[in-house]
Symmetry: C2
Subunit: 333 residues, 2 copies
């Protein structure tokens, strides 16, 4: 890598900040700008937001259009929302400026699954602007889909996929603990679930990616989400879960054909979940059983995989891409 | 996939035949030709060589140039030799005919490592002919290199890589058992080793691929190979290993910088090896420990990964590619 990739960070929540912090440490990346809509952040030096002991010279801007026009970055780290309709205009803007995007937007993993027309519009805009747009992350994007897909490369045939991910939410950041409802009463949990913006986002997309990648055809995709109640009181660095309150979630994703489950993704994220791990079992010839001991470390890993995909996305053909269309992800320096 | 990929099989030894057999089963692939230099195979229908109960209509040809000219295939499965100088003319021929290649040639994993000028010549020819040439397989190509590299995608930083592969050679095909010296006396083993065509080929390439991919820079690459002697008599379906004779090999690969081992690949392939597995441990932030239970099943998996890379190679940009340059491998139908 002779020249550094010029990158802008759009979205400075916990994941966006972690990704920006990491990008600042990479010799192959030059972080040239930061964008957020939060008035409390606009105008601040990124070093202050990251609680570094130094200024970075990167001052947070609120006007994304002006920032991209002036900075003309190569690529964008994009961490603003889980939902494609919410980020649509942000992505169209990047496309118009010819800026490649690595996004944590969960629905972007398989954009056409829930937003077919929007996906077509984004793809056309990206091609027109010469930009590649990729949605990825640890989950969705890696642990419960990509790992299973790549593992299939050493098989003749796969008839079923089972992925199990167990995360002890007590070891994770506060937003994750809140996202899985830790500390809520069962009734509060149900209210939150009804908003559709709660719990793990992207389960359907993971099922769809596996189904498409392995040629299972159109599966009927379903999911269930239920609270896991604490059987004893649990304390995290951020909150307390009383006995009988919600410790977190159990989220199953299913891909079914003719009533048979072909893809089953089983996600547990709750305070005190035992034996954290990622596990992929393929019903295949030859059989495959991959165990990621201790599990893929949530927040750090998400920031890492976003930054580590920047060079791959910069090298990929323009358009709305998936993790199957860009070069295999790997550590960048 | 609307049109089938038209594929020729070049090299019909055990791996080449297994790959051809698998290619015949794929609806997205049309096996249109087969090539071998062995007079005992030329003129035979592939169905007879594969001991199928039917003719395939694919008759083995000896003249590769004529076969490629007449058949004009999209891609080639190439399984003729481990050594790049041996296959040079075969690959140049494919390049000239614009035929993409997925090859099991171990030295092709990182072609410039041992054959820099030859790699440049092949790359130029491939670009000129509009062909992509890829060397891959299970080992090298996946178990002790690619898996570790992809696992690094969820890390901030990697300071060391340790891969362990344990294969019970007693469960593998006869050529593998012979390749690791099963049944030989220690003296015969030393004689065989001196030929340089014995044991596992590609260890240096795996170390080099990991080092390049993870940005470790130029490491000093070394390997050791030693026989593992049978502590009791062992019987395989093909041969007997007497107590005190060679059961197989232990092959270490090292990538070192300033005397420190940064990459350590530890391969055991011997009759009766306990706890067969593939294991990747990264000294990284966050730490990574991946265990492939039972290990990646040797011969079947090698045939599979060759066939499963055909579509990715057909879609890739022309030139001499590595597994890091093409789309992530996955099952094809």
């Amino acid at each position: 890598m002779s020249t550094r990739l010029r990158v802008v960070s759009f979205g400075l929540g916990p994941i966006g900040l972690a990704a920006a912090r990491l990008a600042l440490q990479k010799s192959s990346i030059e972080l040239v700008g930061a964008i957020d809509v939060d008035p409390a952040k606009i105008g601040k030096d990124l070093g202050d937001l990251l609680e570094l002991s130094r200024k970075t010279g990167v001052v947070v801007r609120g006007d994304a259009d002006a920032a991209l026009r002036e900075l003309q970055p190569d690529a964008m780290l994009h961490c603003t929302s889980s939902f494609l309709p919410v980020v649509k205009d942000q992505l169209l803007l990047a496309a118009r400026h010819g800026v490649d995007v690595v996004s944590s937007t969960e629905e972007l993993l398989v954009p056409a699954l829930q937003h077919r027309a929007l996906a077509q519009e984004l793809d056309a805009a990206a091609r027109r602007g010469g930009a590649t747009i990729l949605g990825t992350g640890v989950n969705p994007g890696f642990a419960m889909d990509f790992v299973a897909i790549v593992a299939s490369a050493v098989t003749f045939e796969v008839t079923g996929v089972q992925c199990t991910r167990v995360v002890d939410a007590g070891t994770r950041r506060l937003p994750l603990q809140k996202k899985v409802g830790a500390g809520l009463s069962p009734a509060e949990f149900e209210q939150q679930m009804a908003t559709g913006r709660f719990g793990h986002i992207g389960m359907r997309e993971s099922v769809a990616l596996v189904a498409q990648a392995l040629g299972f055809g159109d599966l009927k995709i379903e999911q269930t989400v239920e609270p896991v109640l604490a059987t004893e009181a649990r304390q995290t660095p951020f909150l307390t879960v009383q006995k009988g309150k919600v410790a977190g979630i159990r989220n199953h994703g299913y891909g079914r054909r003719a009533g048979q489950t072909v893809v089953h993704l089983d996600l547990s994220m709750y305070v005190g979940a035992p034996d954290p791990r990622d596990e992929v079992v393929l019903a295949s010839t030859p059989p495959v059983h991959v165990l990621w001991k201790g599990g893929i470390a949530g927040d750090q890993a998400t920031a890492a995989i976003l930054v580590n995909n920047l060079h791959g996305v910069a090298a990929a053909a323009p358009g709305l891409a998936t993790v199957l269309d860009v070069a295999p992800p790997r550590l960048c320096r």
